[in-house]
C-alpha cells in the first residue's frame, strides 16, 4: 500500500480517473486530521479540497520522495495553521446548531475510525494537548511511521518519540486499566 502515490502517478500519466482513487483513499482522513486543528468540519473540508486541488494545478510539486499521504498531511497542517492564524472572527454557534455539528464530527469519525478501539482512544485524546493529540492521531490513527509523523509535524524523530511517550503516559491515566490494552 503506497497511500495513493501509484494512483497519483497514473493520474500524472494521463489517467484522470486515477485521481478519484486518491481522493477516495485520503480525502476523509485529511479532513479528519485538519479538523483536529481548526475544530470546524466545514473549514477542514475546504482546506482539504484546497490541498487536493493543488495536486491538480501544481502537478510537479509532489516529487514522490515522501508518501503522498505525508505530503498531503504536511500541506493540510500548514494550511490549517494559516487558517487559524488568519481567522479573525470566531463564529459563535447556536446550541441547537452545535448539536448538528457534533453529529457531523461524529459522522466523520465513524468514516475514518472504523475500529472501535480507535474511537475509544480518540475520545480520550481530545483531553490531551494539541501536540500530543496530533502525534497520537498520526501514529495510531493514520498508521504513519515516526519519520513521517515528524515530517508532518516539522519536528525531529526524537521529539516525536518523546511526545508520544508522554502522550501515552497521560492516556493511560485517562483511560485507566482498560487503556493499557488499547494502547
Amino acid at each position: 500500500m503506497d497511500n495513493g502515490a501509484s494512483s497519483y502517478r497514473r493520474f500524472l500519466d494521463g489517467d484522470e480517473s486515477a485521481f478519484d482513487d486518491v481522493v477516495n483513499e485520503l480525502f476523509h482522513k485529511l479532513v479528519f486530521f485538519v479538523d483536529g486543528y481548526v475544530h470546524d468540519v466545514h473549514a477542514a473540508e475546504d482546506i482539504a479540497i484546497d490541498v487536493f486541488s493543488d495536486l491538480i494545478s501544481n502537478r510537479r510539486r509532489y516529487n514522490f520522495k515522501v508518501t503522498l499521504k505525508t505530503f498531503l498531511f504536511m500541506l493540510g497542517r500548514s494550511r490549517a495553521l494559516d487558517y487559524i492564524k488568519h481567522r479573525k472572527v470566531i463564529n459563535f454557534v447556536e446550541l441547537s446548531q452545535a448539536e448538528n455539528l457534533t453529529d457531523e464530527s461524529e459522522n466523520l469519525e465513524e468514516i475514518v475510525l472504523v475500529d472501535e478501539k480507535k474511537r475509544i482512544v480518540n475520545g480520550a485524546v481530545s483531553k490531551l494537548s494539541a501536540d500530543m493529540r496530533e502525534v497520537i492521531h498520526l501514529i495510531y490513527f493514520e498508521d504513519m511511521t515516526y519519520e513521517q509523523a515528524a515530517k508532518v509535524m516539522k519536528k525531529s524523530r526524537k521529539q516525536v518519540d518523546n511526545l508520544l511517550y508522554r502522550a501515552k503516559k497521560e492516556l493511560r491515566i485517562i483511560l485507566g486499566e482498560d487503556g493499557e490494552q488499547l494502547l
Partner: protein, 216 residues
C-alpha cells in the same frame, strides 16, 4: 458535510481555476515584462549611441584635424595619443643657423592649430629613420666588413643626401596648451625629432615645413 462526489467535483473545479489563474498571472507578467525589456534595450542603445557620439563630437584624433590630440600626462612631450582632445594655443620656434639665432612666438590659436597640423603631418608622413642605413652596416657589426665599407659614395635610397650631415640649422618647434602641456618637434636638416622617434622627410616636405614656419 458534503459527500465525496461533491468534494471531488469541487477539487477539480478549484484545480482548474487555479490553473487558469496561474496562466492569467503568467501572461500578465509577460505582457508587463516584454515592453519593459524592450524599453530597457532601446534606452541602452540610445545611451550607448549618445555615449559614442559624445566622443565623436569632439575633435577626432586624425592628423588632419590639427591640434585635436592629447598628451599623456607622464610624457608631456610625447606626440599625440588619441584620448582626450588637447588644444594647442601657443607655438614657440627657436632656430639657429650659423650663429644667427631666430625666435618666433605665435599665440593665435587658429594659426597654431594649422601649424601643428602641418608639422605633425610632415612627421607622420616622414619615413622612419633606419640607423644602420644612415651610419652604414659596419657601424653596427664592429667593422667586420671594413674592406667592403670603404666605398662611401655608395647611394642609399632610403637616406636623403643631406640627412643628418650637411644642413647645420636646428629648429625647436614647441607647441603648448593653455595649461602648460607641450609637444616639441626638433627639425634638423631632413630629420624631425620627436619624443617617440626620428623621421626623415624629403626636401620638398622640408621646404614646405620651413615656409609654413617662416624659417625659409
Amino acid at each position: 458535510m458534503r459527500n465525496l462526489e461533491e468534494c471531488r467535483a469541487e477539487i477539480f473545479r478549484l484545480g482548474e481555476e487555479k490553473i487558469k489563474t496561474r496562466r492569467r498571472k503568467r501572461s500578465r507578467i509577460i505582457a508587463a515584462c516584454v515592453p519593459l525589456c524592450l524599453c530597457v534595450i532601446v534606452c541602452a542603445v540610445i545611451v550607448l549611441n549618445s555615449g559614442g557620439q559624445l566622443y565623436n563630437d569632439g575633435p577626432s584624433c586624425s592628423v588632419d584635424d590639427g591640434p585635436s590630440f592629447s598628451v599623456q600626462e607622464s610624457y608631456p612631450d610625447k606626440p599625440p595619443v588619441c584620448s582626450t582632445p588637447v588644444k594647442y594655443v601657443e607655438l614657440e620656434i627657436i632656430s639657429g643657423t650659423n650663429g644667427n639665432p631666430f625666435y618666433k612666438k605665435i599665440t593665435d590659436a587658429d594659426d597654431v592649430s594649422a601649424l601643428f597640423s602641418t608639422v605633425s603631418e610632415s612627421y607622420t608622413n616622414g619615413s622612419e629613420l633606419n640607423f644602420s642605413a644612415l651610419l652604414g652596416e659596419n657601424y653596427f657589426n664592429g667593422g667586420a666588413n671594413d674592406n667592403k665599407g670603404d666605398n662611401h659614395d655608395e647611394v642609399r635610397p632610403d637616406v636623403p643626401p643631406s640627412a643628418g650631415t650637411t644642413d647645420s640649422r636646428v629648429s625647436f618647434i614647441t607647441f603648448r596648451t593653455a595649461d602648460g602641456q607641450e609637444v616639441t618637434y626638433t627639425l634638423s636638416s631632413n630629420l624631425i625629432y620627436a619624443k617617440d622617434g626620428i623621421r626623415i622627410i624629403n626636401n620638398e616636405e622640408k621646404q614646405k615645413l620651413l615656409n609654413a614656419l617662416g624659417l625659409s
